[in-house]
């Protein structure tokens, strides 16, 4: 199979394990993103569909995500949601209650076992390879809403440590005071004119979902912002990082 490469591959080589440092920065790999959006009158239907397919509820407000069964859901618009879940590779090695692969394998084309025809009029739309996402596709008809894979379109960064908040506040105009931006809070905001989703995953840990094509610039910017504090770069995979009471990882 073709190799997946991060937008930061050439920029962010790990420099240490990050233990006990005031600041650890890195990229989270190995997750899938799916945007699910309803129309004005179909949010309730979408919510039922998501609950039945993935066992997770949709958040009502843009403040804290909902999560269950390894899926974390952010609200990103009045009827729009961003679902963060594992990649297939991890699913295969992880038991997920209530989830069964029901996607139909696409028909093989003659000549090469690696080639499958999926469209036009797709057997299943290209763009997502995660079966939890495919599970959802089967219960969300186009009249109910739309699903768009964004697994490759976002780069997920994290900052962890005592200095994380101060580093972020050099570029983000959101009040990050711990009593205001509480644990598990998130915000859709700008980091120096690039749109980001900022999620406080722990008291001193933040994640940033940035547009992939800006990721290199954001990385250079963040590591520069972190310079006065000193930092290490580490790499983490999604599976080890899902937080919350319903998580089986």
């Amino acid at each position: 199979m073709l190799e997946r490469r991060s937008a930061l591959e050439s920029l962010a080589p790990p420099t240490g394990k990050g233990e006990g440092r005031p600041l650890v920065i890195g990229e989270v790999r190995g997750f899938a993103l799916l945007q699910a959006a309803a129309f004005v009158g179909t949010v309730a239907a979408l919510e039922r569909a998501v609950r039945s397919a993935l066992g997770v509820d949709l958040p009502k407000r843009i403040d804290a995500p909902r999560r269950a069964n390894g899926i974390c859901v952010f609200k990103t618009g009045p009827e729009q949601f961003l679902l963060v879940g594992p990649q297939d590779a991890q699913v295969a090695s992880t038991e997920h209650a209530g989830l069964e692969s029901s996607s139909h394998p696409a028909p093989l084309l003659a000549g090469d076992a690696r080639l499958r025809r999926v469209g036009p009029e797709p057997v299943r739309p290209a763009g997502a390879t995660e079966f939890w996402a495919d599970t959802l596709r089967e219960v969300v008809p186009s009249a109910m809403g739309s699903l768009t894979s964004l697994s490759h379109g976002r780069t997920r960064l994290f900052l962890e440590g005592a200095a994380a908040r101060e580093v972020l506040s050099t570029g983000i105009a959101v009040d990050l005071h711990p009593e205001v931006f509480r644990c598990d809070a998130y915000a859709l905001t700008g980091l120096e004119d690039t749109p980001v989703l900022l999620h406080r995953t722990d008291s001193q840990r933040y994640e940033l979902y940035v547009l992939r094509t800006y990721a290199g610039w954001v990385w250079e910017w963040l590591t520069d912002a972190a310079l006065p504090f000193g930092y290490e770069v580490v790499k983490k995979s999604h599976a080890s990082l899902i937080v919350g009471p319903n998580v089986r990882a």
Partner: protein
């Protein structure tokens, strides 16, 4: 620095937004209205001192277009709503709900 309270995301500096022009005018129905109606819509504006209804999009947030009532003399924002929910908006078409 002008700050606008996004109904979904909360209060943010204007740098997270994109200005989208005067919202006082009713956009002619798609496919309807002649040159004059569109000309008036596009090129004729009041320039009030005081409350002004205008479009802003929260481009670095939820990407929603908002209807903002801003006082042009004081920059005080009195009201913000999703543009699609705002009263007096042009809601033509068969799917109006």
């Amino acid at each position: 620095m002008l700050r606008i309270e996004c109904p979904l995301c909360g209060e943010r500096p204007y740098t997270e937004y994109r200005y989208g022009g005067d919202a006082d005018k009713r956009r002619p129905m798609h496919g309807a209205g002649g040159i004059e109606a569109w000309h008036d819509h596009l090129f004729l504006f009041d320039n009030p001192k005081g409350p002004h209804r205008e479009f802003w999009q929260h481009v670095q947030g939820c990407r929603q277009w908002l209807l903002v009532v801003r006082d042009t003399a004081t920059n005080i924002v009195a009201e913000v709503a999703l543009a699609r929910d705002a009263r007096g908006m042009d809601r033509q078409g068969p799917g109006e709900r």
